[in-house]
Subunit: 123 residues, 2 copies
């Protein structure tokens, strides 16, 4: 377990607001960015397929609605605050957008935390 130095408090759950070392931040940023870019590209591809099927204008407005929902969903999902980042990774793993091995190099406490949540979610 890492030592919390920035916010001295009588008691803190280190997993609720984990510390991130510089090396961990680098890994996290890279994994996060790559998952985001992949999801954006998937959205472009899905939008292309939807557009190709459109014959009537009303379907164009359906596409607009869909794009808006995708945009909001992606904005919400990809939240790079360290206080929520582990939950973002949990979600991305649960959705098959990340695998645990992508997170190699993060402190074992973080990995354990993610595993615990995922095993709970599976029950």
């Amino acid at each position: 377990m890492e030592t919390e130095t920035r916010q001295p408090q009588p008691y803190r759950n280190p997993l609720a607001e984990p510390n991130w070392s510089g090396a961990e931040k680098e890994i996290a940023r890279k994994v996060f960015q790559s998952a985001l870019e992949k999801e954006l590209q998937d959205t472009v591809n899905a939008a292309r397929q939807k557009m190709a099927k459109i014959t009537r204008a009303s379907e164009l407005w359906d596409l607009e609605d869909w794009l808006g929902r995708q945009r909001r969903q992606i904005d919400e999902k990809y939240d790079y605050r360290y206080s929520v980042l582990l939950m973002v990774f949990v979600r991305l793993i649960a959705e098959g957008r990340l695998s645990e091995s992508d997170l190699d190099g993060l402190h074992s406490d973080k990995i354990d935390y993610i595993r615990r949540i995922l095993s709970f979610a599976k029950r």
Copy 2:
């Protein structure tokens, strides 16, 4: 000039709130509907072209914004209330989406009104 029977008033400008005969309404509805469908189809085609050029997700959100603007613009423009319909036709003619001959069969007062506005707009 047609006789106003529905709303007896001491004085009315017949061109501000023109009467529409059944035959005129039929023409107006057909012309309006056809222009609307054409514009919607143009929008589908333009959206397709924009989509084909998209390589990055940020451009996808630009397309979403564009679609939203198009939708609002079309909703506002195609207002089938008889109190504003002549101005709708003026706008569609000015935009090259209708020609005066499409309105053949409307009362000459209406055509004259439209011409007057258009000639004023050209000055």
